[in-house]
C-alpha cells in the first residue's frame, strides 16, 4: 500500500499531465481550424486544375505523342512510394495507419516482383518504415522546419519527384497520405500521381468546345507537372488537417483518462487518510480504556 505522501505526489503528477494534454488538445484544435481553412482555400484551385486536365487528357490521351507524365513510361516495373506522415507523434494512430498502408502496398509490390523505392516526407513515416524497408529508401523530405505549408513547399517536393521521373528512376509514383474526414476519422489513402490518373468526369462534355492556345498538348505539357505539385499540396494540407484532428482526439482521450485516474487516486488517497485517522482514534480510545 503506497503511503499518503506517495499518493499525493502521484495525484499532483497526473494533474500536471492532464494540464499538458489539455493544452495540447486546445493547441491542436486551434491548428486544426487553420489547417481546415487552408485546405478549404486550396480546394478551388485543385478542382479547376483537375477539371481542365481531365478534359485535356481525354482529348490528347489517346494519341501517341501524349506526354509521359500522362501515358507513363510503358512499364510498371519500378514503383516510387511517397509516404507522407507527420513530423511529430502524440496523435493516436495517424502516422502508424499511413505507414501500415504503405507497408501493405510495398509488400504487395515486392511479392509481385516489382522494384520498390520509397521517398518519405515527414520524420515519423521514415522512422516507422526504416527497419523493414530501409534499403528501399531513396530520399527524405524534412518538414520539421516548415512552419506554414505553402505551395512552394509542395512544388519543391513535386520537382524532386519529377526530376527523378525524368531521370528514369521509376515508372509509377504513388503518394500516401491521410484524408481528413472528421476529427475522429482520418482515412489513410494511396493516390497515384504519375502517370496521372483522372476520375471519370461527370458531364464534362462541353469541354470539347474550348479553343486552346497554344496547343492542347503544349498546355498539357505545362499543366501536368503543376498537377503533380497540386496533388502533393492538397495531400500535404489534408495530412496536416488529419494530423491535427488525430492529435486533438488523442489528447482529448488522454485528458479524459488522466481525469479518471485522478478520481481513482483521490478516492484511494481519501480512504487511506481515513484509515489512518481511524487507526489513530482506535489507538487513543484503547489507550484511554486501558487506564
Amino acid at each position: 500500500m503506497p503511503s499518503l505522501k506517495d499518493l499525493k505526489n502521484r495525484i499532483a503528477s497526473v494533474k500536471n499531465t492532464r494540464k499538458i494534454t489539455k493544452a495540447m488538445q486546445m493547441v491542436a484544435a486551434a491548428k486544426l481550424r487553420r489547417a481546415q481553412e487552408a485546405a478549404e482555400h486550396a480546394r478551388p484551385y485543385a478542382e479547376r486544375m483537375n477539371a481542365v486536365m481531365t478534359s485535356l487528357a481525354a482529348s490528347v490521351g489517346g494519341s501517341a505523342s501524349a506526354p509521359r507524365l500522362l501515358a507513363g513510361t510503358g512499364s510498371d516495373q519500378t514503383h516510387l512510394l511517397v509516404v507522407m506522415t507527420g513530423e511529430r507523434g502524440l496523435c493516436g494512430g495517424f502516422n502508424a495507419n499511413i505507414a501500415k498502408l504503405a507497408r501493405h502496398r510495398a509488400d504487395e509490390l515486392l511479392a509481385a516482383g516489382k522494384t520498390v523505392k520509397i521517398l518519405t516526407v515527414g520524420k515519423k513515416g521514415r522512422d516507422a518504415l526504416r527497419r523493414d524497408y530501409g534499403q528501399y529508401f531513396v530520399g527524405h523530405v524534412d518538414l520539421s522546419e516548415v512552419k506554414k505549408l505553402t505551395y512552394l513547399t509542395a512544388r519543391g517536393i513535386g520537382r524532386d519527384i519529377l526530376a527523378r521521373f525524368d531521370a528514369g528512376e521509376f515508372d509509377v509514383a504513388t503518394i500516401f497520405y491521410s484524408v481528413f474526414e472528421s476529427v475522429i476519422s482520418q482515412v489513410p489513402t494511396a493516390k497515384q500521381v504519375i502517370p496521372a490518373q483522372f476520375e471519370e468526369s461527370e458531364g464534362h462534355g462541353s469541354s470539347a468546345l474550348f479553343d486552346y492556345e497554344p496547343s492542347e498538348e503544349a498546355i498539357l505539357h505545362d499543366l501536368l507537372p503543376r498537377g503533380v505539385s497540386t496533388a502533393i499540396f492538397s495531400a500535404l494540407l489534408e495530412n496536416n488537417a488529419s494530423f491535427n484532428g488525430a492529435q486533438m482526439s488523442a489528447m482529448d482521450n488522454a485528458t479524459r483518462n488522466a481525469g479518471d485516474m485522478i478520481d481513482k487516486l483521490t478516492i484511494e488517497y481519501n480512504r487511506s487518510r481515513q484509515a489512518a485517522i481511524t487507526k489513530e482514534l482506535i489507538e487513543i480510545i484503547s489507550g484511554a480504556e486501558a487506564l
Binding site: A46, R48, E213
Partner: protein
C-alpha cells in the same frame, strides 16, 4: 449579352479575387489577350505578367506567374501558380522570383532550356515594366 462576367483569380493557397467584371486583360503565353463578356471559350497558359481586371468598381492589377486561364462567354477563371495584387510585388519578391527562374534555366533539361529562358525573360520584363 450581359455587361459583366464572373471573374475568379485562384492561387493554390487562396482565392485572390472573385467579382463581376467587364474586361480582363490576360498575359497569355502566346501574347496578351483581352477577354470581355461573350468571349469564345478558350483555355490558354500564362506567362509571367500583369493581369488587369476592369470592373464597375475600377481597375485592379495582379501580378501572376505561370498557370492558365479558362475563358467562357460568362466567366474567366485564372489559375495562377503564383499570384498577388500588384502592390504586393515588391522589388524583393520580384528579385526572388527572377533568381528562381534563373536557377530553373540552369537546371533545366536541354529540351526545356528554351522554355525556361522565356520564363526568365518574361520575369525580367515584368520588373522593367513595373520599373522596380
Amino acid at each position: 449579352m450581359a455587361d459583366t462576367m464572373q471573374f475568379d483569380l485562384v492561387a493554390p493557397e487562396r482565392k485572390l479575387a472573385s467579382a463581376p467584371v467587364t474586361e480582363v486583360r490576360i498575359p497569355g503565353a502566346d501574347g496578351d489577350l483581352s477577354a470581355m463578356p461573350g468571349h469564345a471559350p478558350l483555355i490558354t497558359t500564362l506567362r509571367p505578367g500583369i493581369l488587369t481586371v476592369v470592373s464597375a468598381a475600377g481597375t485592379a492589377e495582379y501580378a501572376v506567374t505561370g498557370g492558365f486561364a479558362e475563358i467562357t462567354p460568362e466567366s474567366v477563371i485564372v489559375l495562377a501558380e503564383r499570384g498577388m495584387p500588384k502592390a504586393e510585388l515588391t522589388p524583393d519578391v520580384h528579385a526572388e522570383m527572377v533568381a528562381e527562374a534563373r536557377k530553373a534555366v540552369e537546371e533545366a533539361a536541354p529540351s526545356l532550356v528554351d522554355a525556361a529562358m522565356k520564363v526568365l525573360a518574361d520575369m525580367e520584363a515584368l520588373g522593367t515594366h513595373m520599373t522596380l
